[in-house]
């Protein structure tokens, strides 16, 4: 099956996972996030730890290899793609995607 490449970013934490997108812009939306979803956001900070711990993968618009989402995801062992610039605009809630954390690629499934 051919994979359609949706987005590229910095491969910040290795690993592959398939899941459903959940776009969270601010902490007051944390309640909408369910374990195993793929967290898509502009950027994370320490307040985001509880929701990151539940995520199957993390995708952010901003950030580099040593930014908050990158460091935390590597320790948790979940794939992360950061610095995509436009993930929150291109991806849609409940969209099924494949995240390749090492390459920094996001595919449609």
């Amino acid at each position: 099956m051919t994979k359609k490449l949706l987005l590229k970013g910095v491969g910040a934490s290795p690993g592959k996972t398939i899941g459903l997108v959940k776009i969270i812009i601010s902490p007051n939306q944390f309640i909408n996030f369910k374990k195993g979803m793929i967290l898509v956001t502009k950027m994370t900070d320490p307040e985001w730890l509880p929701v990151m711990a539940q995520a199957a993968a993390v995708i952010t618009d901003e950030g580099g290899l040593l930014s908050h989402p990158a460091i935390i995801c590597r320790e948790f062992g979940i794939p992360a793609v950061v610095g995509t610039k436009k993930a929150t605009k291109i991806l849609r809630n409940k969209q099924k995607i494949l995240v390749e954390g090492k390459k920094g690629h996001i595919y449609e499934r």
């Binding site: 910040a12 934490s13 290795p14 690993g15 902490p27 502009k42 950027m43 900070d45 320490p46 307040e47 730890l49 509880p50 990151m52 711990a53 952010t60 901003e62 950030g63 580099g64 290899l65 040593l66 930014s67 908050h68 990158a70 460091i71 935390i72 590597r74 320790e75 948790f76 062992g77 950061v82 610095g83 090492k102």
Partner: protein, 361 residues
């Protein structure tokens, strides 16, 4: 004996590289406030306060003893980054700035071993005897079941907690060392040490009064196929999932006034929950602060870096009142400096290469 000339040269290169590459690695929002927003207000007074005390202590006790006051090279590293622009603003001549830079780098050199980013002399794991000491300490074990994920969670919690407490100065209050190639049960492995030595700074964050966790060190042995890169101070990137490639792990925490080995799942879970709970409380509160309050918070954290040095003069580390008043009155300029080219960024630290201070002598 280590060749100081070589060591200083390497450090200058490392600093120049860091200046150039920091943006590449940390692009994005710097939480909770970008230090550049305070440059106009904080740079000059902080550099002056630091330099005045520094020059006096240098005369009184010398650079070597002064270096010991800072204990960890990472604090000095951050200070040099913070003071160089301010020293220019207060009118210190280029040659004097270069001498200052060389002095600080020599102090770092007294404290560090090997790689400036991750190896100090205080907790040196530089030779095999030190590694044997860790292996014989009965701390390490082969992790089964939940342990690899639990240690990953602990490391993430610690990193996050440190950022919540110290904000952008957090890299001065933790150290990550390694990777040290060694053998464990006849298997080639790489040892990585993570140290968090100040987890309850109650004089900086009042919520941490009676926080039972003082410090924590972990030792992780990873398969050699995991590649680590220490690109900037104390932060590393790796190319393979850590929990899947963990061969052995262990550590100890100063918890409730006692040193406790990290071998028990219940204790590890308890420490994670403790860090997560406090992180949540602290970070939520920080995110609710106004821009001015965040700016004042950052000033406090900057002066906290020189707490031990000021203690030598029986001075409080609390920042000057007029500085705080200035922020309250004038606010901050929420603007980042124009993005320079690589050449311009390297130019910022050209002072470090000033030939008049005799770098190569």
């Amino acid at each position: 004996m280590k060749d100081e000339k070589y060591s200083l040269r390497r450090m200058r290169r490392a600093i120049a590289r860091s200046c150039i590459e920091t943006d590449k690695f940390t692009q994005g929002t710097i939480w909770p406030i970008h230090p550049s927003y305070l440059a106009r207000i904080l740079s000059a007074p902080f550099a002056k306060d630091f330099n005045d005390d520094f020059q006096n202590l240098k005369k009184d006790i010398g650079l070597k003893a002064l270096a010991k006051v800072f204990v960890h090279p990472s604090a000095l590293w951050l200070i040099i980054m913070r003071t160089m622009p301010g020293l220019k603003i207060i009118g210190l001549k280029k040659e004097k700035r270069a001498i200052f830079a060389k002095d600080i780098l020599r102090m770092i050199d007294f404290l560090m071993a090997g790689n400036i980013y991750c190896e100090d002399k205080k907790n040196i794991v530089w030779d095999n005897s030190q590694i044997d000491k860790i292996f014989n300490s009965n701390l390490l074990f082969s992790p089964k079941d939940n342990f690899p994920m639990l240690f990953g969670r602990l490391h993430a919690d610690l990193m996050n907690f440190s950022q919540s407490v110290f904000w952008v100065t957090n890299c001065a209050h933790r150290e990550i060392h390694g990777p040290y190639p060694c053998r464990w049960n006849n298997q080639a492995v790489n040892l990585v040490i993570r140290e968090y030595f100040l987890l309850n700074p109650e004089d900086l964050v009042k919520d941490l009064r009676n926080f039972p966790l003082e410090s924590l060190t972990t030792y992780s042995l990873y398969k050699p196929k995991v590649k680590f890169e220490f690109a900037v101070l104390n932060d590393y990137a790796n190319d393979l999932p850590l929990s899947e490639n963990l061969v052995a792990v262990g550590g100890q925490a100063k918890y409730l006034g006692e040193l406790k080995k990290l071998k028990d799942e219940k204790l590890l879970t308890k420490l994670c929950q403790l860090l997560e709970k406090r992180n949540k409380e602290i970070s939520e509160r920080v995110n609710k602060l106004s821009e001015k309050e965040k700016a004042i918070g950052l000033i406090f954290r900057s002066y906290y870096l020189i707490k031990n040095m000021r203690k030598q003069f029986d001075k409080s580390w609390i920042p000057p009142k007029d500085l705080i008043e200035k922020v309250k009155k004038e606010g901050i300029q929420k603007a980042l400096p124009p993005k320079g080219t690589t050449k311009q960024k390297a130019q910022r630290f050209l002072d470090l290469y000033d030939p008049r201070v005799g770098w190569e002598k």
